[in-house]
């Protein structure tokens, strides 16, 4: 097989064609060389041929003005210029060689003739081209599409990739290990452990042996109480931690006064605060919230401060020579510039919030998932411990995902930039 035919065989819409049709396509193809910066076709020009990239990269740029779409890069083995198959349509993009490139040029009418001549392969080609056009357009449409449309496209794309299935294998391995060690092999130290089937039965049972399953209101009460505590503590930590961190990063004097103190208090483990929190604060609810808040506050404040420090000084100089006051620089440069770090901080913050919440709930408080684990342990209700642990995993993941989503929303400029670079 010639190199030309080989390339055609690999290009997206042609890969399923019979070799006969591919031979004829190869015969119709010419090799075109382009230097860096060469214009392959201008937008609006009559579309005569489609191209497959043999070497180099080609950039497709939308005509300026009407569409504000990002340019697309076409790499080796990929095809572009499909409008050539669309009758008398003009080019919607202009194509420029982004590096010295070698291209295969296949006249559109010859492809159309082939389609017309060969009923079976012609039909196959038609379907393939239609699919290819859709695939090429899809990312463009979704780049413009807002919110839900884009999310759905990404989700569909994700489902088609191997990523979710590899992840499932990971789950399967852990569950298999659990099942085998506890219930099949009954290894010595594992004998006391609740088994996989035992936990699942208990979790899904309408009449759970130990009183907690998805059918019992008390299960949701535990979740709700924990979520409520997390919500209050996290909100407080964010409301206080972000401004505190911004000031630490922004004001030299503020940092000089408070940072040494902050650095001495921060390493004190949350658990060491338990007795003082209980002595200091009334009731059983406030100590738990205070302990949860404390860990979150450190993470948020510290990351926010680092975020301010990470801002490129030229942004600040640029803003000042465009006439911005100190306050305006704070609002337009410091705050948005620190956002990526702030949200990293919030991610960590919500994680450590769960950590300290469960610790606090084990010591003090009524209800909550940490409390459930502790009481289940003392009353020898082992399956319930695992139910509470798994629930913590799921709920923790959801809260973390919510923070991430909020970050993506607040920094959509970043998502768009990364999409272009990636």
């Amino acid at each position: 097989m010639s190199d030309v035919e080989d390339l055609i065989a690999k290009a997206l819409p042609f890969e399923t064609l019979s070799s006969g049709v591919r031979e004829r396509l190869a015969a119709a193809a010419q090799v075109v060389e382009a230097l860096e910066g060469d214009l392959i076709y201008e937008s609006g020009a009559a579309a005569q041929a489609l191209y497959i990239v043999r070497a180099g990269t080609v950039l497709l740029e939308p005509s300026s003005g009407r569409d504000s779409l990002p340019p697309q890069a076409v790499q080796v083995g990929e095809a572009f210029g499909w409008t050539a198959l669309g009758g008398k349509a003009g080019r919607r993009y202009r194509a420029i060689a982004a590096s010295p490139a070698s291209l295969l040029r296949i006249p559109g009418d010859q492809v159309l003739d082939l389609v017309a001549a060969d009923s079976q392969d012609g039909e196959a080609l038609r379907t393939q081209v239609a699919n290819a056009l859709q695939d090429i357009r899809a990312p463009i449409i979704t780049a413009r599409g807002q919110g839900l449309e884009r999310a759905l496209y990404r989700f569909a794309h994700w489902l088609r990739s191997p990523v979710p299935y590899l992840g499932l294998i990971g789950y399967a391995l852990l569950l298999a290990f659990w099942y085998l060690t506890v219930e099949v092999l009954k290894l010595p130290r594992f004998a006391e452990m609740p088994g996989l089937t035992q936990v699942l039965q208990e979790w899904l049972s309408p009449n759970p042996t130990y009183g907690v399953s998805i059918h019992t209101p008390v299960y949701y009460q535990h979740i709700l109480v924990s979520l409520q505590r997390i919500g209050i503590a996290f909100a407080l930590a964010t409301l206080l931690g972000v401004p505190f961190g911004l000031l630490l990063g922004w004001s030299r004097a503020f940092k000089d006064y408070l940072f040494p103190l902050f650095e001495i208090i921060r390493p004190i483990p949350i658990l060491a605060w338990v007795p003082l929190a209980i002595i200091m604060l009334p009731g059983s609810e406030l100590p738990v919230i205070f302990l949860t808040f404390l860990a979150s506050f450190y993470a948020t404040a510290l990351n926010t401060m680092l975020g301010v420090k990470s801002i490129d000084q030229t942004y600040i100089l640029a803003a000042s020579c465009l006439g911005a006051s100190q306050l305006q620089i704070f609002r337009h440069v410091i705050v948005p510039g620190a956002l990526p770090f702030i949200f990293t901080g919030l991610q960590i913050s919500v994680g450590v919030a769960w950590f300290s919440l469960v610790a606090a709930e084990m010591v003090s408080g009524q209800f909550g998932l940490g409390y459930l684990i502790n009481t289940s342990y003392t009353t020898v209700q082992y399956p319930t411990i695992v139910i509470a642990m798994l629930t913590l995993g799921v709920v923790g993941y959801v809260t973390s995902a919510l923070v991430r989503a909020a970050g993506d929303w607040a920094m959509h400029w970043r998502a768009r930039q990364l999409a272009m670079e990636g």
Partner: protein
């Protein structure tokens, strides 16, 4: 001498008078700029070339007001910007800097970036500022990129946005610190033509630091060759090529002569600087 066209009133004459700047890293006093004096006429495109780290940017920063001088003075249209009794030039939008690595705010759209100056200075209302920004973007061939973020457009377009962001403030002096350093040759030449066009339209004074000698000769009315550190003018060369210029001058014999002349002078200084092992600045 006036370099601006008749429509634009030439403003923005700079006078640098015996400027001295010391750096004091770890107690070792280093002279960055030493009794440096030269004038830039109103409406002139003045190109500054010299070895890396010679103190060109230090001079530019003093004009912009990012730091002060340790001696001498800088005047803008005969008003003292900094000098005896005035430690630092005020940072104002009559002198706008376009930075080496670009400083568009990535979290603002191109349009918001451009409207930033008039908005923070409260010179224009939101509607007016965006209208003016839109108009200037269209004029600079940036139509269609208004609502994109800087991260979404090419580096050449970003540079253009940044220059429009400076121009919307009607500055009298544009301070450019190797703005096209990272661009490929093709994009660079497009940028050059656009800058010359902008200059024809506005007649503002351009203070332009570069390492690219062809760029210096092609764009400049004059080229100031700086000595190795401490920085002061070694030679000032008038570029007597006809204006307006296009890319055909690059092959003209006069252009070659100037290039040979300037590169000999720059090489001499670069060698001195290299032998002393100075780092890029």
């Amino acid at each position: 001498m006036s370099f601006a066209n008749e429509a634009a009133v030439p403003r923005g004459a700079l006078r640098i008078d015996q400027a001295v700047k010391l750096y004091d890293p770890d107690g070792a006093r280093v002279l960055a700029v030493d009794h440096c004096s030269f004038d830039v006429a109103a409406g002139e495109i003045c190109m500054i070339v010299g070895p890396s780290g010679c103190g060109k940017t230090t001079l530019l920063n003093a004009i912009a007001g990012f730091h002060g001088l340790d001696g001498g003075a800088i005047y803008l249209d005969d008003q003292m910007l900094c000098g005896p009794g005035r430690a630092k030039a005020p940072v104002e939008s009559d002198r706008v800097v376009v930075f080496q690595n670009g400083a568009l705010f990535p979290w603002k759209t191109n349009l918001e970036n451009i409207a930033f100056g008039p908005l923070v200075q409260k010179k224009l209302s939101r509607v007016e500022a965006f209208e003016k920004a839109r108009y200037l973007m269209a004029e600079a061939g940036l139509e269609g990129h208004e609502n994109q973020y800087p991260g979404e457009i090419s580096s050449g377009l970003r540079r253009r946005v940044e220059i429009v962001r400076a121009l919307i403030n009607d500055p009298t002096v544009l301070l450019l610190d190797e703005p096209y350093r990272a661009l490929d040759a093709l994009t660079k030449s497009v940028m050059h033509e656009a800058l010359l066009e902008t200059h024809r339209r506005t007649g503002i004074t351009i203070f332009f630091i570069t390492h690219d000698l062809e760029e210096a000769i092609f764009l400049g009315h004059r080229v100031v060759i700086m000595t190795a550190r401490p920085c002061r003018p070694k030679r000032i060369i008038d570029i007597d090529l006809p204006s307006p210029r296009d890319y055909t001058v690059l092959t003209s014999p006069r252009f070659r002569e100037l290039a040979a002349d300037i590169s000999a002078a720059v090489d001499e200084e670069a060698l001195k600087s290299f032998e002393r092992g100075e780092k890029e600045g």
